[in-house]
């Protein structure tokens, strides 16, 4: 795609930081591409963007993009992002996290970021396991799946990222995947352009660990699984139930207009001390 090339020079630390650490067939680079295209179409200044991450494969993303970038400790991306947003509300804060990072060790932070409706866009790349440490189970590993720490199959039920964050109060909740990339570009763009807490769960293959442990084939096979085993929410609504059974639904599930925390805090300051500028 030669038309995509100009992005590399504007948005990537292309001379300094490549090759990247991700395995062949990993989907995280595709998510990074989607984020860059979404930001480009919004025309945002690089200086205004803060990409914050925790620990894990997805959390290595900030090193490659030429924004303000902050690679923090495991699970804490949203807490660091909250502080940065409070101290400088002009920053457009984008948190990129994996499923283990955001749902296990960062589980407390994500429910409270959603409850506060903190003005952060959270992109959660869900590859169903901890890739960087060698493929242990995460809170989104499906029941029965084999991982390095579930050699006899996962016995715990899994979290639904979208339902969890919707219930906790997020303004915007959506799911995409790295096969349906044009759709993902649109979802991320919509998420970024809103306010309050916005969540985009992105399904992504981990052929090195999860795929191998569960005999899902190579990277191409795993992409085909995303094609065949997910369904867009609009299509799903038109089909009889038996045709959508067992498929993971993609699309925008929640798009609310609740007031974000930044605005609510400013209103508090205005109320108790009129005339004082943030």
């Amino acid at each position: 795609m030669p038309a995509r090339l100009p992005y590399s020079y504007k948005y990537l630390r292309s001379k300094k930081k490549f090759p990247h650490v991700w395995c062949p067939g990993c989907g995280i680079g595709i998510v990074m591409g989607s984020i860059i295209r979404a930001i480009d179409s919004l025309g945002w200044e690089l200086d205004d963007i803060l990409m914050v991450s925790g620990i894990g494969c997805t959390s290595r993303m900030p090193v490659y993009v030429d924004f303000n970038t902050l690679h923090t400790t495991h699970g804490r991306a949203l807490a660091f992002g909250t502080g940065a947003k409070m101290a400088n509300p002009k920053l457009k804060v984008l948190a990129v996290m994996g499923d283990g990072d955001s749902m296990a060790i960062g589980g407390n932070h994500i429910i409270h970021a959603a409850r506060r409706n903190m003005d952060i866009t959270a992109i959660i790349v869900n590859n169903n396991n901890y890739g960087m440490t060698g493929g242990q189970f995460s809170p989104t590993t499906p029941q029965g799946a084999k991982t390095a720490t579930t050699p006899y199959g996962m016995i715990e039920p899994d979290f639904d990222v979208c339902k969890l964050t919707e219930a906790a109060g997020a303004n915007f909740v959506a799911r995409g995947d790295v096969y349906h990339v044009i759709e993902l570009d649109g979802i991320i763009k919509k998420a970024l352009s809103g306010s309050g807490f916005r969540v985009v769960e992105t399904l992504s293959p981990c052929p090195t660990n999860f795929g191998r442990a569960n005999k899902q084939g190579d990277a191409v096979n795993m992409m085909e699984l995303l094609r065949d085993e997910t369904i867009n929410i609009a299509q799903a609504s038109k089909l009889p139930k038996e045709k959508t059974q067992g498929k993971t639904v993609r699309g925008i599930f929640v798009d609310r207009d609740g007031m974000g925390y930044t605005e609510r805090y400013q209103k508090l300051c205005d109320r108790v001390s009129p005339g004082v500028k943030k």
């Binding site: 902050l70 690679h71 804490r76 409070m86 101290a87 400088n88 920053l91 001390s273």
Partner: protein, 381 residues
């Protein structure tokens, strides 16, 4: 009370003085989580900060609190949190991150009895070694221990200044007695205090190195959103902030982290020394115990008995050279502490076998009294 009562004299609580000291230092952002006996700091700032348009938030736990103030500091806000033992343990993760990434912040730890939940409303000094060595890996530490309400105010301002100057977290550690006591405090006039402005680089954007190796080991820090775009990571990094495993870059980073403190001990060292030269017996103490030591010294003076007092205000870095210089020639050094013996090891490390180092330890949640100290001095005389 609203804002800092510049120039006035008031009856003020220690924790309140910390909060007012933070306001005097120009705090921009506070994030915290409720915990006894530090909560007044958060409560007073929750009331005061929105009135002047400054940012305050109660996070979901202490890990989130310190993470938030690191983010806030990187985005250009003077940031602080306040906690006590159990929260301090949780904050070690963020503290290590801030040391590694060289982010200025102030962490107030009002010490209570431990380990674990311990004695939440009672005094202890059990966190002094944790403050030095609590987070994993080698890391610098600057820790100040106030002994009265006035110092709670002045050392909070000092903590903000040192954090900026050294680009590192500074820990203020009043013990519970100091945090909760009320005392007369005469506030300085508004122009009288010195507040270091946050540094900012003046190099062209493309020349900026977030961890530039300057003569002091500390270089001006840019903030997110300022136009200088940089990367911050807890991974060992090069001068631009990008991860590295190259041996020379790793060594350079680790040495600079250490030397930015050890090469400027003169700026950090701050001791209160009373009658040490003319005494054979010296009490080495810090925090609230210093108050009892001063009282004991007076009682003994009435009995024509001399005892010296050595009190570090900056407890970390430890005043090695001065302790060796002044105390290695003494007969006896009494080290009263509200723990089972932590700083005593430092005193032992720096004195010869000929010097008797005598512990006086209390860990039942109560103060060491002047009478206990008098008895201890008389016993060794």
């Amino acid at each position: 009370m609203s804002g800092v009562p510049w120039g006035e004299t008031k009856l003020v609580q220690g924790n309140e003085a910390v909060a007012l000291g933070a306001l005097a230092a120009g705090i921009d952002f506070f994030a915290g989580y409720p915990i006894t006996p530090s909560t007044e700091v958060a409560e007073i700032l929750a009331r005061e900060m929105p009135l002047i348009g400054k940012k305050w938030i109660q996070m979901e736990d202490e890990i989130a609190s310190i993470s938030a103030i690191i983010g806030g500091s990187l985005a250009g806000g003077r940031s602080m949190t306040a906690t006590s033992g159990p929260g301090f343990s949780l904050m070690q993760e963020g503290l290590g991150y801030a040391c590694m990434t060289e982010v200025p912040l102030v962490l107030v730890n009002v010490m209570r009895g431990g380990p674990s939940t311990g004695l939440p409303t009672q005094v202890a000094q059990g966190d002094v070694m944790q403050a030095r060595w609590g987070t994993h890996g080698d890391h610098p530490a600057i820790v100040l221990a106030p002994s009265d309400v006035s110092e709670c105010f002045s050392l909070t301002i000092e903590a903000f200044n040192l954090a900026e100057e050294f680009r590192t977290p500074v820990i203020l550690m009043p013990d519970e007695v100091i945090g909760h006591m009320r005392e007369k405090l005469t506030f300085p006039a508004e122009g009288e205090i010195c507040v270091e402005p946050p540094s900012s680089p003046d190099v062209p954007l493309e020349w900026y190195e977030h961890y530039h190796t300057s003569a002091t080991g500390v270089s001006p820090m840019a903030h997110f959103g300022s136009g200088y775009r940089f990367h911050v990571t807890g991974l060992t990094h090069d001068t631009h902030g990008f991860p590295t495993r190259k041996v020379d870059e790793v060594i350079s980073k680790m040495n600079r982290l250490k030397h930015k403190i050890t090469r400027r001990l003169d700026v950090l060292e701050n001791n209160m020394i009373h009658g040490v030269e003319e005494s054979d017996v010296v009490i080495f103490c810090y925090g609230s115990v210093y108050r009892s030591a001063l009282a004991a010294q007076k009682i003994l003076a009435r009995q024509r008995k001399k005892v010296g007092i050595f009190r570090p205000v900056t407890i970390w870095p430890f005043p090695d050279r001065t302790v060796k210089e002044l105390l290695d020639s003494k007969n006896v050094i009494i080290v009263p502490e509200l723990n089972q013996g932590q700083m005593i090891h430092e005193v032992e490390r720096l004195t010869s076998d000929s010097v008797r180092v005598v512990p006086l330890q209390r860990y039942d949640g109560y103060e060491i009294t002047p009478e206990q100290l008098v008895a201890a001095v008389l016993e060794v005389m």
